[in-house]
Symmetry: C2
Subunit: 134 residues, 2 copies
DNA sequence: TATTTATTGGATAATTTTTATCCTTAAGAG
DNA sequence: CTCTTAAGGATAAAAATTATCCAATAAATA
Protein backbone atom coordinates (compact mmCIF):
# COMPACT_ATOMS: atom_id res chain seq x y z
CA UNK A 1 0.00 0.00 0.00
CA UNK A 2 1.10 3.51 -0.79
CA UNK A 3 1.09 4.85 2.73
CA UNK A 4 3.44 2.17 3.89
CA UNK A 5 6.09 3.14 1.40
CA UNK A 6 5.52 6.78 2.15
CA UNK A 7 6.42 6.14 5.75
CA UNK A 8 9.37 3.97 4.83
CA UNK A 9 10.68 6.56 2.43
CA UNK A 10 10.91 8.94 5.36
CA UNK A 11 12.63 6.37 7.56
CA UNK A 12 9.61 6.00 9.76
CA UNK A 13 8.77 2.58 11.10
CA UNK A 14 5.40 1.43 9.90
CA UNK A 15 2.95 0.98 12.74
CA UNK A 16 -0.83 0.72 12.67
CA UNK A 17 -1.11 4.00 14.55
CA UNK A 18 1.07 5.80 12.07
CA UNK A 19 -0.80 4.39 9.13
CA UNK A 20 -4.01 5.67 10.65
CA UNK A 21 -2.51 9.10 11.14
CA UNK A 22 -1.60 9.20 7.48
CA UNK A 23 -5.03 7.96 6.49
CA UNK A 24 -6.81 10.54 8.58
CA UNK A 25 -4.63 13.40 7.48
CA UNK A 26 -5.01 12.51 3.83
CA UNK A 27 -8.76 12.45 4.35
CA UNK A 28 -9.15 15.66 6.29
CA UNK A 29 -6.19 17.63 5.05
CA UNK A 30 -5.43 19.78 8.04
CA UNK A 31 -5.99 18.90 11.66
CA UNK A 32 -5.01 20.13 15.06
CA UNK A 33 -3.77 17.82 17.77
CA UNK A 34 -7.13 17.39 19.41
CA UNK A 35 -9.22 16.56 16.40
CA UNK A 36 -6.53 14.19 15.27
CA UNK A 37 -6.61 12.57 18.68
CA UNK A 38 -10.36 12.13 18.58
CA UNK A 39 -10.29 10.72 15.08
CA UNK A 40 -7.58 8.25 16.04
CA UNK A 41 -9.42 7.12 19.14
CA UNK A 42 -12.23 5.82 16.98
CA UNK A 43 -9.96 3.13 15.63
CA UNK A 44 -7.61 2.92 18.61
CA UNK A 45 -9.63 3.66 21.73
CA UNK A 46 -6.60 3.20 23.97
CA UNK A 47 -4.29 5.41 21.96
CA UNK A 48 -2.38 7.76 24.18
CA UNK A 49 -2.11 11.46 23.64
CA UNK A 50 1.62 11.10 24.08
CA UNK A 51 1.70 8.87 21.04
CA UNK A 52 0.31 11.65 18.92
CA UNK A 53 2.72 14.23 20.19
CA UNK A 54 5.64 11.91 19.70
CA UNK A 55 4.61 11.01 16.20
CA UNK A 56 3.80 14.53 15.17
CA UNK A 57 7.23 15.59 16.28
CA UNK A 58 9.20 12.83 14.66
CA UNK A 59 7.16 13.14 11.49
CA UNK A 60 7.74 16.84 11.42
CA UNK A 61 11.44 16.40 12.07
CA UNK A 62 11.65 14.04 9.12
CA UNK A 63 9.65 16.41 6.96
CA UNK A 64 6.89 13.88 6.60
CA UNK A 65 4.37 16.44 7.62
CA UNK A 66 4.34 20.15 8.22
CA UNK A 67 2.95 22.47 10.78
CA UNK A 68 0.55 25.11 9.53
CA UNK A 69 -0.15 28.29 11.43
CA UNK A 70 -3.42 30.02 10.65
CA UNK A 71 -4.52 33.21 12.43
CA UNK A 72 -6.85 32.50 15.35
CA UNK A 73 -6.44 28.77 15.10
CA UNK A 74 -4.40 26.16 16.88
CA UNK A 75 -1.43 24.72 15.06
CA UNK A 76 -2.51 22.43 12.27
CA UNK A 77 -0.70 19.52 10.70
CA UNK A 78 -0.80 18.31 7.13
CA UNK A 79 1.04 15.73 5.08
CA UNK A 80 4.00 17.17 3.27
CA UNK A 81 3.51 18.05 -0.34
CA UNK A 82 4.71 20.65 -2.83
CA UNK A 83 4.83 24.15 -1.41
CA UNK A 84 1.43 25.73 -1.46
CA UNK A 85 -0.62 28.41 0.20
CA UNK A 86 -3.76 28.23 2.27
CA UNK A 87 -7.07 29.96 2.04
CA UNK A 88 -9.26 30.05 5.12
CA UNK A 89 -12.88 31.06 5.48
CA UNK A 90 -13.34 33.49 8.33
CA UNK A 91 -16.89 32.27 8.89
CA UNK A 92 -16.69 28.48 8.80
CA UNK A 93 -12.92 28.13 9.28
CA UNK A 94 -12.70 25.81 6.33
CA UNK A 95 -9.23 25.62 4.84
CA UNK A 96 -8.21 24.80 1.32
CA UNK A 97 -4.85 24.43 -0.34
CA UNK A 98 -3.98 26.48 -3.34
CA UNK A 99 -0.94 26.59 -5.57
CA UNK A 100 -0.06 30.10 -6.45
CA UNK A 101 2.73 31.59 -8.44
CA UNK A 102 4.66 33.47 -5.78
CA UNK A 103 7.74 34.23 -7.85
CA UNK A 104 7.00 37.86 -8.72
CA UNK A 105 5.92 38.37 -5.17
CA UNK A 106 9.08 36.92 -3.75
CA UNK A 107 11.23 38.85 -6.20
CA UNK A 108 9.55 42.03 -5.14
CA UNK A 109 10.21 41.24 -1.49
CA UNK A 110 13.79 40.14 -2.12
CA UNK A 111 14.78 43.34 -3.83
CA UNK A 112 13.19 45.50 -1.16
CA UNK A 113 14.57 43.61 1.79
CA UNK A 114 17.84 42.15 0.56
CA UNK A 115 16.92 38.85 2.12
CA UNK A 116 17.57 35.67 0.14
CA UNK A 117 14.09 34.26 0.28
CA UNK A 118 13.38 30.63 -0.38
CA UNK A 119 10.18 29.73 1.41
CA UNK A 120 6.83 31.26 2.12
CA UNK A 121 3.96 30.75 4.48
CA UNK A 122 0.95 32.38 2.93
CA UNK A 123 -2.58 32.39 4.31
CA UNK A 124 -5.34 34.29 2.59
CA UNK A 125 -8.47 35.00 4.54
CA UNK A 126 -11.96 35.59 3.26
CA UNK A 127 -15.40 34.10 2.77
CA UNK A 128 -15.86 30.79 1.05
CA UNK A 129 -18.46 30.33 -1.68
CA UNK A 130 -20.78 28.41 0.63
CA UNK A 131 -20.77 31.00 3.39
CA UNK A 132 -21.13 33.76 0.81
CA UNK A 133 -24.55 32.50 -0.21
CA UNK A 134 -25.92 32.24 3.29
CA UNK B 1 1.94 61.83 24.83
CA UNK B 2 1.11 59.89 21.72
CA UNK B 3 0.80 56.49 23.32
CA UNK B 4 -1.79 57.76 25.75
CA UNK B 5 -4.09 58.87 23.00
CA UNK B 6 -3.47 55.68 21.10
CA UNK B 7 -4.77 53.73 24.04
CA UNK B 8 -7.70 56.07 24.55
CA UNK B 9 -8.63 55.88 20.90
CA UNK B 10 -9.08 52.17 21.34
CA UNK B 11 -11.14 52.58 24.50
CA UNK B 12 -8.40 51.21 26.67
CA UNK B 13 -7.84 52.73 30.06
CA UNK B 14 -4.42 54.26 30.35
CA UNK B 15 -2.31 52.53 32.98
CA UNK B 16 1.43 52.60 33.55
CA UNK B 17 1.65 48.93 32.67
CA UNK B 18 -0.16 49.41 29.40
CA UNK B 19 1.97 52.38 28.48
CA UNK B 20 5.03 50.27 29.04
CA UNK B 21 3.63 47.50 26.87
CA UNK B 22 3.15 49.98 24.06
CA UNK B 23 6.59 51.40 24.58
CA UNK B 24 8.26 48.02 24.53
CA UNK B 25 6.33 46.79 21.52
CA UNK B 26 7.08 49.92 19.55
CA UNK B 27 10.73 49.45 20.37
CA UNK B 28 11.06 45.78 19.61
CA UNK B 29 8.35 45.35 17.05
CA UNK B 30 7.36 41.75 17.63
CA UNK B 31 7.50 39.88 20.89
CA UNK B 32 6.20 36.71 22.38
CA UNK B 33 4.55 36.57 25.78
CA UNK B 34 7.68 35.60 27.61
CA UNK B 35 10.06 38.18 26.27
CA UNK B 36 7.41 40.81 26.79
CA UNK B 37 7.04 39.63 30.35
CA UNK B 38 10.75 39.85 31.01
CA UNK B 39 11.00 43.28 29.44
CA UNK B 40 8.10 44.53 31.52
CA UNK B 41 9.55 43.15 34.74
CA UNK B 42 12.52 45.45 34.39
CA UNK B 43 10.30 48.42 34.99
CA UNK B 44 7.61 46.64 37.05
CA UNK B 45 9.32 43.88 39.01
CA UNK B 46 6.05 42.81 40.59
CA UNK B 47 4.07 42.70 37.39
CA UNK B 48 2.03 39.56 37.17
CA UNK B 49 1.99 37.25 34.22
CA UNK B 50 -1.78 37.39 34.37
CA UNK B 51 -1.62 41.10 33.68
CA UNK B 52 0.10 40.46 30.41
CA UNK B 53 -2.31 37.81 29.28
CA UNK B 54 -5.27 39.96 30.21
CA UNK B 55 -3.89 42.96 28.41
CA UNK B 56 -2.82 41.08 25.36
CA UNK B 57 -6.31 39.68 25.05
CA UNK B 58 -8.20 42.88 25.54
CA UNK B 59 -5.82 44.74 23.28
CA UNK B 60 -6.24 42.12 20.63
CA UNK B 61 -10.00 42.16 21.00
CA UNK B 62 -9.97 45.89 20.48
CA UNK B 63 -7.64 45.57 17.51
CA UNK B 64 -4.99 47.54 19.29
CA UNK B 65 -2.47 44.87 18.54
CA UNK B 66 -2.34 41.78 16.42
CA UNK B 67 -1.13 38.27 16.84
CA UNK B 68 1.50 37.12 14.39
CA UNK B 69 2.14 33.49 13.64
CA UNK B 70 5.54 32.62 12.25
CA UNK B 71 6.57 29.05 11.46
CA UNK B 72 8.54 27.45 14.29
CA UNK B 73 8.00 30.36 16.63
CA UNK B 74 5.67 31.11 19.47
CA UNK B 75 2.86 33.53 18.85
CA UNK B 76 4.12 37.05 18.53
CA UNK B 77 2.37 40.33 19.17
CA UNK B 78 2.80 43.64 17.47
CA UNK B 79 1.08 46.99 17.56
CA UNK B 80 -1.59 47.31 14.96
CA UNK B 81 -0.70 49.15 11.81
CA UNK B 82 -1.50 49.01 8.10
CA UNK B 83 -1.62 45.50 6.72
CA UNK B 84 1.84 44.25 5.97
CA UNK B 85 3.81 41.09 5.54
CA UNK B 86 6.70 39.66 7.49
CA UNK B 87 10.08 38.43 6.50
CA UNK B 88 11.94 36.16 8.86
CA UNK B 89 15.52 35.02 8.80
CA UNK B 90 15.78 31.28 9.24
CA UNK B 91 19.20 31.63 10.85
CA UNK B 92 18.85 34.44 13.37
CA UNK B 93 15.03 34.51 13.57
CA UNK B 94 15.04 38.24 13.01
CA UNK B 95 11.75 39.55 11.70
CA UNK B 96 11.07 42.62 9.62
CA UNK B 97 7.89 44.16 8.33
CA UNK B 98 7.44 44.78 4.66
CA UNK B 99 4.66 46.34 2.67
CA UNK B 100 4.02 44.46 -0.48
CA UNK B 101 1.53 44.85 -3.23
CA UNK B 102 -0.59 41.76 -2.82
CA UNK B 103 -3.39 42.76 -5.14
CA UNK B 104 -2.46 40.71 -8.18
CA UNK B 105 -1.72 37.85 -5.91
CA UNK B 106 -5.06 38.04 -4.19
CA UNK B 107 -6.86 38.43 -7.49
CA UNK B 108 -5.18 35.31 -8.74
CA UNK B 109 -6.23 33.40 -5.64
CA UNK B 110 -9.77 34.77 -5.71
CA UNK B 111 -10.45 33.68 -9.24
CA UNK B 112 -9.04 30.21 -8.65
CA UNK B 113 -10.80 29.61 -5.37
CA UNK B 114 -13.99 31.65 -5.60
CA UNK B 115 -13.38 32.95 -2.12
CA UNK B 116 -13.95 36.62 -1.43
CA UNK B 117 -10.56 37.41 0.01
CA UNK B 118 -9.95 40.47 2.10
CA UNK B 119 -7.01 39.75 4.35
CA UNK B 120 -3.68 38.01 4.17
CA UNK B 121 -1.09 36.64 6.50
CA UNK B 122 2.13 36.40 4.61
CA UNK B 123 5.47 35.29 5.96
CA UNK B 124 8.49 34.98 3.72
CA UNK B 125 11.43 32.98 4.97
CA UNK B 126 15.04 33.31 4.01
CA UNK B 127 18.45 34.56 5.04
CA UNK B 128 18.95 38.12 6.13
CA UNK B 129 21.82 40.23 4.77
CA UNK B 130 23.79 39.93 7.99
CA UNK B 131 23.60 36.15 8.19
CA UNK B 132 24.35 35.89 4.48
CA UNK B 133 27.79 37.39 4.97
CA UNK B 134 28.80 35.10 7.81
C1' DT C 1 12.18 -18.40 10.26
C1' DA C 2 14.02 -17.40 14.75
C1' DT C 3 16.59 -14.17 17.39
C1' DT C 4 18.05 -9.78 18.57
C1' DT C 5 18.01 -4.79 18.75
C1' DA C 6 16.07 -0.50 18.56
C1' DT C 7 12.07 1.99 18.33
C1' DT C 8 7.28 2.71 19.44
C1' DG C 9 3.07 2.88 22.18
C1' DG C 10 0.69 3.40 26.47
C1' DA C 11 0.43 5.06 31.13
C1' DT C 12 1.57 8.51 33.86
C1' DA C 13 4.10 12.23 35.93
C1' DA C 14 6.13 16.60 35.35
C1' DT C 15 6.40 21.04 32.98
C1' DT C 16 4.82 24.70 30.64
C1' DT C 17 1.33 27.65 28.99
C1' DT C 18 -2.98 29.77 29.40
C1' DT C 19 -7.19 30.95 31.71
C1' DA C 20 -10.04 31.87 35.73
C1' DT C 21 -10.96 33.75 40.33
C1' DC C 22 -10.75 36.86 44.08
C1' DC C 23 -9.69 40.92 46.12
C1' DT C 24 -7.36 45.36 46.35
C1' DT C 25 -6.11 49.40 43.84
C1' DA C 26 -6.63 52.94 40.68
C1' DA C 27 -8.50 55.27 36.30
C1' DG C 28 -11.60 58.38 34.88
C1' DA C 29 -16.57 59.72 34.47
C1' DG C 30 -19.76 62.69 36.57
C1' DC D 1 -14.19 64.74 45.31
C1' DT D 2 -16.87 60.75 45.04
C1' DC D 3 -18.32 56.72 42.88
C1' DT D 4 -18.30 53.17 39.51
C1' DT D 5 -15.95 50.21 36.76
C1' DA D 6 -12.08 48.24 35.12
C1' DA D 7 -7.22 46.85 35.95
C1' DG D 8 -3.43 44.75 38.53
C1' DG D 9 -1.45 41.22 41.51
C1' DA D 10 -1.56 36.79 43.67
C1' DT D 11 -2.88 32.49 43.13
C1' DA D 12 -5.44 28.49 41.79
C1' DA D 13 -7.18 25.86 38.08
C1' DA D 14 -7.18 24.13 33.62
C1' DA D 15 -5.16 23.05 29.28
C1' DA D 16 -1.35 21.91 26.45
C1' DT D 17 3.06 19.92 25.89
C1' DT D 18 7.02 17.29 27.18
C1' DA D 19 9.46 13.72 29.74
C1' DT D 20 9.99 9.13 31.78
C1' DC D 21 9.43 4.31 32.26
C1' DC D 22 8.49 -0.12 30.71
C1' DA D 23 6.19 -3.57 27.92
C1' DA D 24 5.18 -4.53 23.14
C1' DT D 25 6.52 -4.82 18.42
C1' DA D 26 8.73 -3.54 13.95
C1' DA D 27 12.30 -4.87 11.29
C1' DA D 28 17.22 -5.90 10.80
C1' DT D 29 20.15 -9.94 10.75
C1' DA D 30 21.61 -14.26 11.73
Amino acid sequence: MKNISRLKDSNLKVTPQRLEIVKILSTYGHMNINSLYEALREKFPTLSLATIYKNIHTMRDKSFLSEVKIPNQKNLYELKKEEHSHIVCSKCDDIIDIELDTSSFINQASSISNYKLDKSSIVLIGICPKCATI
